[in-house]
Symmetry: C2
Subunit: 157 residues, 2 copies
């Protein structure tokens, strides 16, 4: 299973995550930007995700809703700030019950032949926001999503 | 003249600026959110600023254009992520020629009777982005704007 390497220096506003997955960059980028793709990989394994809004262009909005097995909904939203095909996405990210705590996230995709390196660089409004996010078990969730994305991309080929 | 106290620890993604100006919080907030107000105070003293877009609500866009004495235009844009009347604004900020380098900025307004404290907390996508912004002479520009805002607010009363 692919895994993120996480870098979070104590006291910093920043968080960096890097992983390399199987699959060409074009398809990985597609998995990130195609509304049809999101339900296949975004979120925890045990949850279902639907796309309420997704406009991957400067100023476009997104909103994804995860439904847990007990029926509880967890909604995430944000705005795309930069989308460079196959290369880069910058968006903001909010967990709606914690609205107003916004993080700015850059995703970079690097072509490594049959594999793609994903670099995610986030900055949080405060060190507390960042540490709070890490404490939610974000790493486990991110790795579950990454694994499902790799499987999804394999299925596209 | 009011002045920002600036805090920028070496190697950090964050920048904090604090100032206290004359004028009640309600009017200071209005100066930040009323399109009619922006040309009165935003930007360098020697420039004129026009508002191309300004929708101060979650997901709303803004775009301000400063025109220098030589006719050169400098455009800034972003998206409002949170607007709490009289209290808080969160927006993203981009200088268009440097598009894709985005900063996330929180502005907090604290009532201090006849005065208002403004706390601006910014996070940049990289330490280099932050240091580059500081090197542009941002501080001088911010203080010019702050001074004009105080004068504008005084005129509203």
């Amino acid at each position: 299973m692919p895994k993120y390497e996480i870098q979070a220096e104590p006291g910093s506003h920043a968080l960096a995550m890097t992983a390399t997955i199987k699959g060409p960059r074009k398809l990985v980028f597609q998995a990130y930007t195609d509304p049809e793709a999101i339900p296949h990989w975004f979120g925890l394994d045990a949850n279902c995700t639907r796309v309420d809004a997704m406009e991957p262009r400067h100023g476009g909005r997104w909103r994804f809703v995860e439904t847990a097995p007990d029926g509880e909904e967890h909604a995430f939203r944000g705005v795309y700030h930069d989308v460079v095909p196959d290369e880069r996405i910058v968006w903001t990210f909010e967990y709606e019950p914690w609205a107003g705590h916004i993080l700015l996230e850059e995703m970079l995709f690097t072509d490594q032949g049959d594999e793609t390196r994903i670099d995610i660089r986030s900055v949080f409004q405060s060190v507390e926001d960042r540490d709070g996010m890490i404490a939610t078990g974000m790493e486990e969730g991110a790795n579950q999503s990454l694994n499902r994305m790799e499987q999804y991309v394999a299925g596209l080929k």
